[in-house]
């Protein structure tokens, strides 16, 4: 069964790019350019892996990851931060995300990280 990957990013270009790449690797990819109610999104899409842009409207990536990790129903899902921010490493630790992917990324590394962390 195909794994579900949910990607948040406010940049449509990035979403399209990610979808393009991951589609080649036999994943179901859902992309969202806003994050208003992350838990509802999860119920709706049932993702195995979430890639969360740090500066996502409305609630922001930090808050969204926190919500996922504090909820018993969702905390088992792998969540990776996704940003061009240089401080991503610290933020990742702070919100207890499973990891991060820095922008710009290396294609092979991007695919490797997702393949190894998808549940």
């Amino acid at each position: 069964m195909k794994k579900n990957i949910l990607i948040y990013d406010d940049d449509a270009e990035i979403l399209f790019l990610c979808k393009t790449i991951l589609s080649k690797y036999d994943f179901n990819v859902e992309t969202l350019s806003r994050c208003d109610d992350v838990l509802s999104d999860i119920i709706k899409y049932n993702p195995n892996f979430i890639l969360m842009d740090l500066w996502i409207p409305e609630m922001g990536g930090e808050k969204a990851v926190k919500l996922i990790k504090e909820n018993d129903a969702t905390k088992h899902i792998s969540v990776f931060l996704f940003s061009a921010n240089a401080d991503i490493q610290e933020i990742c630790k702070k919100v207890n995300a499973n990891g991060y992917i820095e922008k710009p990324f290396d294609l092979k590394a991007f695919v490797n990280v997702i393949e190894s962390h998808v549940q």
């Binding site: 270009e13 990035i14 790019l17 790449i21 061009a84 240089a86 401080d87 922008k103 294609l107 991007f110």
Partner: protein, 862 residues
Amino acid sequence: MTISAGSFNNPDFNNFQQEIIHQTPIPIFVVEGAEFIITLSNEKNLEKWQRTHEEVLGKPLFDVFPEGKTQPFVGFLSEVYHKGISIKRNEEKAEFYHNGVLDTAWFDIQYQPIKNEKGEVHAIMAISVDVTSQVLARQKAEEREKEFRQMTDAIPHFVWVADSEGKVIFYNKRIYEYSGLDKNIDKDSLWNNIIHPEDVEETTKSWQDALINKTLYSVQHRLKAKDGQYRWFLSRAFFEEDTENKTAHWFGSATDIDEQKQIELTIIQEKEFSRSVFESSPDCLKVIDANGRIQHMNFNGQCLMEIDNFNEFKNKQWSDFWGNENHILIENSIQKALSGETVQFKAQAQTAKGTLKWWDVMISPVNNIQGEIREIIATSRDITEEKISEDTLKESEEKYRSLFETMDQGFCIVEVIFDADQQPVDYRFLEYNLVFENHTGLTNVMGRTVLEIIPNIEKFWIETYGNVALTGKSIRLINESKAINRWFEVYAFNVGDAQNNRVAILFTDISENKKSEQALKASEEKFRILTETIPQMAWMSDEKGNPEYLSSQWEKYAGLMPMNEYWGSICHPDDIENSMINWNKSIATCEKLIIEARLKNQENEYRWHVSVGVPLRNDQGEVMKWIGSVTDIHDQKMKEQQKDEFISIASHEMKTPLTSAKAYLQLMEMTLDENHDAYLYTQKANHAVGRLHNLITELLDASKIQHGKLNYTHATFDFDAMMAETIENIQYSSTTHTIIKQGNIKKKFLGDKDRLQQVVINLLTNAVKYSPEANQVEVRIQEENSHLQVSVTDKGVGMPEKHLKRIFERYYRVEEHAIQFQGLGIGLYISYDIVMRHGGKMWVESILGEGSTFHFTLPYVN
């Protein structure tokens, strides 16, 4: 032998018994009846009576001896006859006519009654032993003793006789008369009653010695007279043996010698007195004979002269003690003393042990009884200490004087003159040192009063010194004398006795200091005026940082408050700690102070300010004050922040399309054949995107460093491996240069591996970039004790010296190379910060046109 029986016919006597009576060598006779008829007389008795049997037997006794009727025998016999008792008498005197001459004889008699069967006395047996010779001898002895007694009583001495055991058998009456003791007192205990307790021991010992050895006993002791007073006696006794009489006696006498003894004691006491005077003198006393030889020296003198055994020095010439230089002086002095003069002098002489001492010597003649001078007494007093202290005093006086003469301070002694009401009115100069004139400008003041010299002198000075003289309290002051237009720093104190009104004055002309002090005050004043006119907040503090002055701008900015509360009150809480650290550091190092902090204005708005302070030093280079200004840099600061914020957002925004570009290029690369031209183009594009990414990252880093926000992640890593990997990467992308690596540290290193790698990349890419003509870059890794050092050398364009210090500043670009080489001027700025943050150092050596070497060190930390 014949037994005369006569009428004596008694059956009680048998022949044998009669025979015994007759033969007994003791005279015995028997009388019977009241008539005392002689019935028996033995031969011995007849011999004694010088009668025959016939003349006595049967006849009444007193018929035979009619002279006996008046003698006691009659009574004795009658008593025996009538009372029936026996009578015994010794040495009964009897007188008998013998050849018509009355002879006297003595008898020991014994009359025994002889009783018949009825117990009646019928006869008396008389035994009478002639003891006449015995009695006569005794009488003679008694007579001699009586004569002896009378004789001994006649002599004034005590006389006594003791037996050979020492038991006294006789004392003459003198002893009793003298002591008042009863004659019946026990002779042996007599002495115990009269010998002085202090003399008992010696007396007993002498007596015991004499008794044992039978030698002459002789002792002087005090004996108590009846009035309780003691007098001195000479007791003597000798032992004499009478070989003829086989007797032995001690004959003793005691002669009153009290008067002689008293004289003797007086003499001893006098001698003892002079001896004790001689001995107790603390000085060295010597008796010297007419030949100049030492005869005696007192004990204290021996100590002073360090003589252990005086006998070694007895009879030595006194002058030998003195050195050659004093020899004649001593000889002459002795001669003068011998001629009756008393001589005194002071000179130096050595002791027996060679210690050189000063002596005050007095030599006096000694007259003997005949008034002749046979010896002299020399008294030497050890005055070494006094001499030394005298010399020391002289020396210190000279030192003191030369001190005042050589010192820079003015010095004078004045005598304050008082009027009748004890008010000081003037003072006179008694003494002053050389520099006095320099300090006062006054000349020729000796002996003159201050009013004579300076008629308009301020009353203050006279009153001040007058007070010192009166109270004896010293005073320190600084004051001006307008009369001579000088400032003085003065220390005045009372000298000598309180009554002499003398005051010593130590002073310095401080007019110059005063002037410069005033000048300083004036310049401070100028500074104040100046600071009031400028828009910045100006401040001044003492050398320890305590504020002394704040310009009025402070009040305008923050409102009125106490000077030392400003900073604490208006500085932003987040900036206080940092500002204090900087302030303390500057005070400790005396280096320029720079503090950036937010300060609150009256509208409670915090605005960024920079406080810059510099130390103000005196001629000796000591920091006297800090002065500084506080400038509002808020707008500047805000602009900078906006710029950094802009860079931060811009770099983020730029990264988003970059991400797409990079990803699509990689996707494209994956789809292309390696031999296709497009593949090469994709690679080039990819490389360009990489560079762009690096530029954006650096720009962001630079703005982060500005705020100390660049993050570091420290971990232990293999430094050699990091170097090798980095060099390999750079080498991979460079086709023109060969990177030569030298050295290893062979150690793990604790630090941020990625950041340090960034430094090495920066240095290597710079080396390649700025040496386009060269083909080689050298990397040297060195290991030191506490740190490692990395040096990157290129043979490139180099740079002028003026740039060497600024090359690590942000956005700094070497203008000479600006056109030739592109760049933002932030790579070295970031590298420098990274090295600093690891506690290391970074510097550059460079020669224009020849190349550069960049060094950095990193300390090992545990």
